[in-house]
């Protein structure tokens, strides 16, 4: 009798223990080599994957490198590739797909991804090319105390209301430059163009081709909005990106901001700022444009991809390890590190803006192969217009000319 109880007890313990370690790690003794950026959220996912499955693998390495996009194409080209998985975002996925370096994940999702949600799948024509786990976007930050001191009711919901509020704040003598946003030359200022262009329903390219489509009324209105914002921004705005805008906000030198949601957490925390600023900072959805309903933001996701030029077994083990980390228990441990797309995420105050923007129907950053070329052209050629040195029409012509030159180089146009 005693032995029977012991055996049953032993069996049950083993069951319990094995169910805890039941993360399905796929084939054992394989090589898992992950490359990702240096984000806390990526550390969380890759770290959990390593904890779960390092014992099951022969080699399990995680490399964190900012600017992974600079080396990832070269790293994934040889066979076998240097890494078995790269953690990408919207723009970097297209960069890998342009060179055919990642593999479709449909079979692997069926086998290991039953706990994943449908909206985590990034598909192109039905092929799952990546599995997303977190989201980010730009949205509106406001100082409610300054707004009410200037006589502005409530939180501005459209860009027209934002500019109006800025005008009132300046007129009331509270702040000369109340708006902050990432207008730094290059990628950032190009992104600001995207925000307001796409919020008006603008399409960068003619349907189905790489021909540019920005010299029109939508483009001109976008530039005018940007000029309006710049006129209420700090004179150094052409050199300011997130570190500087966050610094200005935390020093209490701004009242309305369009900044990244991922900075929300660090803005609201009790480091770097005063209680007056943090307690009065309100995070809300990005503003709409011209009476439309689309928030002026681009939605970004980060997710995992699996390299093509690796043995199928390594691919399977890598995928299994990474999705084993995408569980509610991982989210619970790292809840505030990102806006998670996984079940069990409890949005804190820092996530309010991104959630509102996503709920408002903001567009996601386009996954078109040549969008990067257009973005680069925008980033380089809009500066003269913002400095007042050329007209909107001329600026758009310059952007188009720069884009066409690059597109011809890359083979997208002739």
């Amino acid at each position: 009798m005693f032995f029977k109880k012991l055996i049953v007890f032993g069996a049950m313990t083993t069951l319990v223990v094995s169910s805890v370690n039941a993360a399905n790690c796929g084939p054992s003794g394989k090589s898992v080599r992950i490359l990702g950026s240096d984000f806390p959220a990526i550390h969380a996912v890759a770290g959990t994957a390593k904890d779960n499955c390092a014992g099951n693998a022969n080699v399990f390495t995680v490399s964190h490198k900012d600017d992974t996009r600079k080396i990832m194409n070269a790293a994934l080209t040889p066979n076998p590739a240097e890494y078995t998985s790269v953690i990408v975002a919207n723009s970097t996925l297209t960069q890998l797909m342009n060179d055919g370096l990642v593999r479709p994940l449909n079979e692997l999702v069926k086998k290991y991804g039953s706990h994943l949600k449908p909206h985590q799948m990034i598909t192109i024509d039905g092929d799952v090319m990546a599995v997303a786990f977190m989201a980010n976007s730009q949205h509106l930050f406001t100082r409610k105390d300054i707004l009410s001191a200037a006589g502005v009711q409530g939180t501005p919901a459209s860009i027209e209301e934002v500019l109006d509020a800025a005008k009132k704040i300046r007129a009331a003598g509270i702040m000369e430059y109340p708006i902050v946003t990432n207008l730094k030359v290059g990628w950032n200022v190009g992104e600001v163009f995207n925000l307001f262009f796409m919020a008006q329903g603008g399409q960068h390219f003619k349907s189905g081709s790489a021909e540019p489509n920005i010299i029109n009324q939508t483009g001109i209105k976008t530039l005018e909005i940007m000029k309006g914002i710049a006129s209420y921004a700090h004179p150094d705005h052409l050199t300011q990106a997130s570190n500087e805008t966050q610094g200005l906000w935390e020093a209490g030198k701004a009242a309305i901001g369009i900044m990244w949601g991922s900075r929300g957490g660090v803005i609201l925390d009790d480091e770097g700022s005063t209680a007056k600023v943090t307690s009065n900072t309100v995070l809300s959805g990005a503003p709409t444009v011209g009476g439309g309903s689309t928030p002026a933001a681009t939605l970004w996701w980060d997710g995992i991809t699996i390299a093509k030029n690796i043995p199928d077994d390594d691919a399977e083990a890598t995928f299994a390890a990474l999705v084993s980390a995408m569980t509610p228990s991982m989210v619970a441990k790292h809840n505030d590190k990102a806006v998670w797309l996984i079940d069990g995420f409890k949005p804190g105050p820092a996530a309010a803006g991104v959630s509102a923007t996503a709920a408002g129907g903001a567009p996601s950053y386009p996954m078109i192969p040549y969008i990067g070329l257009m973005h680069n052209a925008l980033g380089a050629e809009l500066v003269d217009y913002l400095k007042g040195a050329e007209s909107a029409q001329q600026a758009l012509k310059d952007v188009e000319a720069a884009y066409v030159t690059a597109a011809k180089q890359a083979g997208y146009l002739n």
Binding site: L299, W301, M367, T405
Partner: protein, 343 residues
């Protein structure tokens, strides 16, 4: 020196240079003459966490086939060199025919990225090089005349601008010259202008970059001249003193001629490095007002999601040619000296 001895002495150095510099240069030249294959686009439907929409993507199989057949791409001849982001031959001639005044023509040309960058690069080089040369020499002479005990710390402090990592150094300076930073605020007080911002004005940004360039390179010129000053033959100096020459005459007639090879060398290196200026522009986020040739290459290769190897290659070639043109006077002088000294 016998040819074979020479060969063996220089073999390790030459091997490395050929493998890691010469061959890549050849490959870059070849790449700059090609453009990518015509990309085959298909309309497809993409879905992400936020919804589905129509998009275009590449036809992977068709692209594979093209790449296999011709890995280099399509031959484009000098097309890349004459396109808008390089010499912009078409745009420049159009501007010439359309413009009514030289000023208008010049403005149109400066709107083109390569010429905009070239203007800053040449200005930077022409201003920074002589300042670094003269000031470095002056500081070396000054330090040479210091009492011995002060020399060590002085040498170290003088080397600081070159030792501190440019990446973080320029970031810290970036914040210091900001209108709210210590240098920026002090300048505002000196000039009694609260809106004075080094970052908002193009001309002030240029000046700031050039001052940084001088500050950063002065240690190099200082240490080379300082080492050279130690090798000035004392007997000739003493003989000159006995003959009654004063400090200036001794400087002009003994020291400077002795140091000429070093002067040439420093000028060579400075011209070359200043022409390739790039780190300060990124460090000071100054690309709103100033771009350089190396910055264009950086932008082509690393900032866009699609590295444009051909375009970057063409700009690299143009940088090398620019450096050679800039160095021609110095090179002719070296040629003459080589013939005097060597044979």
């Amino acid at each position: 020196m016998k040819h074979s001895t020479f060969f063996w002495f220089i073999l390790p150095s030459l091997t490395l240079m050929i493998l890691f510099i010469a061959l890549p240069i050849v490959s870059v030249v070849i790449q700059s003459l090609h453009v990518e294959h015509e990309q085959v686009l298909v309309i497809s439907k993409s879905c992400d966490p936020f919804g589905c929409k129509e998009t275009t993507s590449l036809d992977q199989e068709a692209m594979e086939k093209l790449r296999e057949d011709n890995p280099l791409g399509r031959f484009n001849g000098l097309g890349t060199y004459t396109n808008r982001s390089h010499f912009a031959v078409e745009e420049v001639s159009k501007a010439w025919h359309v413009s009514t005044s030289f000023r208008e023509f010049w403005e149109k040309v400066l709107n083109l990225p390569f010429y905009k960058a070239l203007t800053f690069t040449i200005t930077y080089t022409i201003v920074v090089t002589p300042f670094v040369l003269f000031l470095g020499f002056a500081v070396a002479v000054g330090v040479n005349n210091l009492p011995k005990i002060l020399k060590g710390p002085t040498i170290f402090v003088s080397l600081l601008p070159m030792i501190v990592t440019p990446l973080v150094g320029s970031l810290i300076l970036f914040w210091m010259v900001d209108g709210d930073g210590i240098i920026g605020a002090t300048l505002q007080r000196i000039f009694n202008d609260n809106s004075l911002s080094l970052k908002a004005s193009a001309s002030l940004t240029w000046i700031m970059l050039m001052v940084y360039g001088i500050w950063h390179f002065l240690p190099f010129s200082f240490i080379v001249f300082y080492a050279g000053l130690q090798t000035v033959p004392q007997e000739i100096l003493e003989a000159a003193m006995i003959d009654g020459a004063n400090k200036w005459q001794r400087m002009r007639n003994v020291v400077v001629p002795h140091l000429m090879p070093l002067v040439i060398f420093v000028m060579l290196i400075l011209l070359m490095d200043n022409f390739r200026v790039f780190e300060p522009i990124v460090g000071f986020s100054a690309d709103a007002h100033a771009t350089s040739l190396s910055w264009i290459i950086f932008n082509d290769l690393q900032e866009s999601a699609y590295p444009l190897y051909g375009s970057a290659g063409a700009t690299s070639m143009m940088t090398i040619i620019g450096v050679i043109i800039l160095l021609t006077p110095v090179l002719i002088r070296t040629w003459r000296e080589f013939h005097q000294k060597g044979n």
